[in-house]
Every structure is written in structure tokens, then in C-alpha cells.
Amino acid sequence: MNSTAADTDIAVPRGQTEGSYLTDGYSVRSWLLSTDHKRIAMLYLASITFFFFIGGAAAALVRLNLIVPEGLLGSAEAYNRLFTMHGVIMVWFFLVPAVPVTLGNFMIPLMLGARDLAFPRLNLLSWYLFMAGGVVTLWALFSGGLDTGWTFYTPLSTAYAKGHVVMAVVGIFISGFSSIATGLNFIVTIHQLRAPGLTWYRLPVFIWSMYSLSVLLVLATPVLAITLVLLAFERLFHIGIFDPAIGGDPLLFQHLFWFYSHPAVYMMILPGFGVVSEIIPAFARKSLFGYKFVVWASVSIAVISFFVWGHHMYVAGTSLYSALLFSILSYLVAVPSAIKVFNWLGTLHKGYISFDAPMLYALGFVGLFTIGGLTGLWVAALAADVHLTQTYFVVAHFHYIMVGAMVSAFFGGLHYWWPKITGRMYPEMWARIAALIMFIGFNLTFFPQFILGYLGMPRRYFSYPPEFQVLNVLSSAGATILAAAYLLPLGYLVWSLLYGDKAPANPWRATGLEWKTPSPPPTVNFLVTPVVTTGPYEYPPPERTSG
């Protein structure tokens, strides 16, 4: 807790205090070498959007190929490399970093009443590591790519796959350190730089979800790093720890890989919980129902998500007892998510709900996440998973969570804090249209895949038996609508940068420290450090206006 009483120390001044962080230097150098968490968040927002559209383009080609049973693109080689590119780019360069590095980077110091993150230089290094990893991975993908899928299972990835496996692995390895740096920065900041009076139970749930996410980032990514080193070693020296020819165990790779990759999927959804827990109280004008339960649900997800990775390997040949153990633990980890959904509904109860764009995205999130979470229970049941795993049912399940829930929350958060970030209001009508199109396009794309999965269509198939064609064509049609829905916000948000009307400090009359500073905030965030005296969501019922 920083004390402002005896401020006899010489606070090394930094940056001007009038005007906003956007007007504090216009040169490229002032952006690329800035250690201001807000500018780094903007650099990340540009990189994230760039990678999102590359991964999206790969997805569009994958869906294009699946319109006809024998594969429209004509070559399985191209298809295999495309879905690998879609997986690698989306997982490591969009979904895992998206909310924490853009909205998290921008909002955490503001919500804590701090002037910046604990280690600003480490924050800038994190962006450069992310871009370095991105460039290396893109170079690997565009100079031929690799056909191992984003899961890199051995011995396919180490002995039999052609393509730039080691270069892609190096790219992901470097971007892993960017995640570790960001997570470390967030955890230390949330512990050390809270405003006076801001106790743990007065923190907004977004901060709690960023804290839980950072625990995952910091403790899971190193295991991915060592796994990728072992994989690169085995591929380069043609002999390694996973090589069955010398008594190695390919299942060891899967254990190490999924020890990271299951927490990774919780890294993707936890920020969504945080954003939605901010938006729903703000637009229902009511404090969050069961605040402590939602908080401890986030923290327990951060812990239990490390116990469940074995449910990816029910049919991989692991022992019966480990499968039973992972199944019961997987059901345990589903309970906190259920608690959150009930609490969001509780918040809406007796609220004063308005339907601005962020609220539409949040309501979409609640609906789609419920479907995604419930289908997670299907694949957690051992016998059902034996039938459903490695089919399009699993593809639909994780896309409902990653695209339906997570990307909606990212867009919701982006719209909710857009006035604070850029000082401009986005066009409300266009935003609502985009939200609705995204909801429709998404469901049309991925709901048919549940049925395809039950019927047994395997994932990662370039061509498929003709009886699945109709559902695949439906899914591809939905993908085009979804692509349009993603281009719309790019358009009107950029438009709002120039022509959007000026945003007040608190357009949504929301609670939270970030709304107590002008939009866009000055470089030092707060001219006078705020003192917190109330809880996070003190929304008074609106006074009875005439209407």
C-alpha cells in the first residue's frame, strides 16, 4: 500500500500532466520506445488486430475448402498447413494475449489508481518479445508453414512432419516470454500499487480476473517453454526424450503440452469473465450479485485449471486411473464457471437494463458461454468423450468458448472502454448491428458442427464423406457472415477516431476509478491519487425521471 502522507521522497517526475497520453509526443520514437502502459496497450491493440485478421483469413480458407466433400482447395498439403496456421496464430498471437495486453494493460493501473505498472520497461520488452515471436512465426508460416496442427504431437512433429516446425516453435517460444513478462507485471502491480483505501474486496472483478489470468500466464507458460525446447532438440538431433524408438514416451509430450494448453484455454476465457462482470453491473445499474462468490470463482479457476489437463487424453492410451482422476477434476473446474453464470443472471434481476453495444456483447457472452460450458460437460464425461473427442463436436465446443464467448467479450470490452481509451464515442447504431450480426453469424457457423461431431466427422479432415456436406455448407455460410461482422467494427471504430464525437470522462455513469480521470487520461493517469472509500459497484437506483 503506497502511503502518500510523508511524501518526502523525490518522486522522479515523468511526462507532462496536462493534455492526454495521446498528445504527449507524436514521433514514431515516442510510441515505439514509450514505457507508458497506455501507449503500449495501443501498440498491442494494433498487433492483436493484425494477427486476428491473419488467423481469420486462414479460417476463411479452411471453411472455403470444406464446402465440397473432396476439398475445394484441391491439395491436402495446403489445407493441413492452413488449419495449422489458423491454430498457431489464433492461440498464441490473438486469444491468449488479446484482452490482457490491450484492455488489461490499459485498465489495470487506471482501476488501481496507480500511475503505471510496477515494471514499465518490462512491459515494453514484453511487446517487443511478442512482435519478435510473431515475426519469426509468420516467417515460418509464410515460407511454407508446417503440417502438424497447433498441438505438435510427437513423433509426427519431430520425425515425420515436413515444414518449418523448429522455426515456428522458436517463434512461439519467444512469444511465451512476452506472456510471462506481462503476467509477472500484472501480479506485482495488483499487489503493490493499489490506491489508498483500495482493499482486496473493493477491487473490481476485472482486476481479480486479470490477477487469476496472470497466475496462469506466469506458472503455465514456462512448462510450454521447456516442452518446445525438448521438441526442437528432438527434431534437430533426430533423437529425443519423446522418441519411442529409444524407449521414450510420446504421451509424455502430450502431458507436458496439455499441462500448458489447458490453463491456456482458461487464460482465454478468464478475461472474458472479468470484462462481462464489469459491463453487466454498469448497464443494469445494479451492483454485482454475489461479488465474493464471483471473485473466489475466478481465483479457484486459476488453481483448479492446472489439475484437469488429462481430459484431452482420454483415448490417447493413458492409464484408466489417471483418466478417472482427470474426469472428476474436470467436473470440479466446471463448478466455478456455473457460479459465475448464475451470478450474472442474479445481477440482471431487478436491474435497470439498457441495451448499449457493450451490453449486447455481454448478454451474447452469457448465452454462448453457457452453451460452450455445457458442451464441456459432455466431453468431460469419459464414455461420451470416447465418442466425441477428435470430432467436430470438440471443434464446436472450444469455438463456442473462444469465439462465441471470448471474442464477444473482447469486442464488448473494447466498446465499453473505447471512450476512455480514445476520447471518442463509437457510433451506437452501427455497433449494435455488428453485435447482432456477429451473434447470428457465429451460431450459424458453429452450431451445425455439434451435429457433425455427433455423426462422427473427424476434425482436421481435408475431405469428408458426402453425407456431411449440407451441414458443412451451412457452417461455411455462417463463416462468411461472421467475417463480415468482424470487419464492421474495424470500420466504424477507425471512423470514430476521426469523426466520433468527444467522449465525456464517464459516458456510462459507471463506477470504478478509471472513470474518475478524463478521457483519454493524462500520461500520469491521475493528477491527484484517488482515495477509495466504497465497494466496487455502488450503483444507486436511477432517480425516477418523468419517463
Partner: protein
């Protein structure tokens, strides 16, 4: 901890002791990530030894026990010397700190010379590198032996890299101490690098039995 008043500190901290605590907490969190990094390797050790008991332990018997044991003693002593240096610094004796750090650096150099100069060269000479066509161990011990030496070279190699980084930090701290940047009120960098150095010693304390002792039976 360092008294906080009257010292420059970064603008986002309330005072210098707040910044010092944050730096130490940050280093401990970084060490937590390193624990998980080497944890992945230990899981490889468990799997490889479980599936290839005879060959794995045969590989362990090929390692030079005396070099490993001597290196362990060297690293423990270097950690001790570093802590000694910090104790002297706390009472303001920067010269003693520099002496201790230089001694720590010498021991670290001795470790590397023993490890990479002597032991690795001997391992290569005896065809112990796992990809060697004429691998030293044959027959029943070949497969498990190769797996052991993959773990051995990766573990000691990764630890060696961490040693080099640690020695770089040591040189950086020695140069700053020589320039008199540290005082009993402000010596946080010395403590933070000390944490990292002791952690590198901890990693060796786990690798040493896993490589040299457990398979020795």
C-alpha cells in the same frame, strides 16, 4: 529492509522501500516461473527412468561423480560468499562486498571450467553424447542410456546458461559497487541478484542427485 526516506524512486512508487519490496517480489515471481521450467525437465526424468530403469541407471553410472560433487560444494560456497557479501553491505562495508562477489565469481568460473571444460570434453571423448553413432552404452542399456544423456545434457546445459547469466549479473553488480552506487540504505540490486544466484544454486542442488546419485546404486 532499506530505510525509504530521501531516496530517488520511480514515479509510480510512493517511496524507495516500496520500490525495493516490489523489485524483490518481482524476482521471487520470476524464480517461480523458473521452478516450473525445470519442473518440466524433472517430469521427463520421472518418465524416462520409469520406462527404462536398467538403461537409465546405467547411464547415470557413466557420469563423473567427483566432478559433480566438487561442483556442488563450489556452488554452495559461492551462495554462502554472496550472502556474506550482502551482510557486509548491510553495515556499509562495500569493499568487503566486492571481495566476496569476486570470490563468488571465481568459484563460478571454477564450476564452469570443471563442468564444460573437463566433464563435457570427457563425455564427448567417451561417446556419451546421445546422438553419437558409436554410443558408449550398448545392448540393454543403449536406449535408457541415450534417454539419460538427453536429460543430462539438456539439464546441465540449461543450468549452464543460467550460470552464465548469473555471472553476467555478478559482474554488473561488482562494477556498480566499485562505482559506489550502493549504501546501507540502498542495495536492492545486490539482494535481487543474490536471489537469482541462490536460485541457480537450488537448481543444481536438484540436478546433482538426479544425475549423479540416484542412478548410482
Amino acid at each position: 529492509m532499506t530505510a525509504g526516506s530521501g531516496l530517488p524512486h520511480e514515479f509510480q512508487y510512493a517511496d524507495a522501500s516500496h520500490q525495493a519490496n516490489t523489485a524483490i517480489a518481482g524476482m521471487w515471481l520470476f524464480l517461480a516461473t523458473e521452478v516450473l521450467l525445470f519442473g518440466g525437465l524433472i517430469l521427463c526424468w520421472i518418465y524416462s527412468r520409469h520406462w527404462n530403469p536398467v538403461g537409465f541407471d546405467a547411464g547415470a553410472r557413466q557420469t563423473a561423480l567427483w566432478i559433480g560433487t566438487l561442483n556442488t560444494a563450489l556452488l554452495i560456497t559461492s551462495s554462502f560468499l554472496y550472502a556474506l557479501g550482502v551482510a557486509f553491505m548491510r553495515v556499509g562495508n562495500a569493499r568487503a562486498l566486492i571481495h566476496c562477489l569476486v570470490l563468488t565469481l571465481m568459484l563460478a568460473l571454477a564450476f564452469l571450467v570443471l563442468k564444460f571444460g573437463l566433464e563435457y570434453r570427457d563425455d564427448f571423448a567417451r561417446h556419451l553424447f546421445p546422438t553419437a553413432t558409436r554410443f558408449a552404452l550398448t545392448g540393454a542399456e543403449a536406449a535408457g542410456g541415450r534417454l539419460f544423456f538427453i536429460f543430462y545434457f539438456l539439464g546441465t546445459g540449461l543450468h549452464g546458461i543460467h550460470m552464465l547469466v548469473g555471472m553476467g549479473l555478478l559482474v554488473w553488480i561488482i562494477r556498480r559497487a566499485r562505482r559506489g552506487e550502493f549504501s546501507p540504505q540502498y542495495y536492492t540490486p545486490v539482494e535481487v541478484v543474490g536471489l537469482y544466484w541462490s536460485f541457480v544454486d537450488l537448481v543444481w542442488l536438484t540436478l546433482y542427485p538426479l544425475i549423479y546419485l540416484v542412478g548410482r546404486g
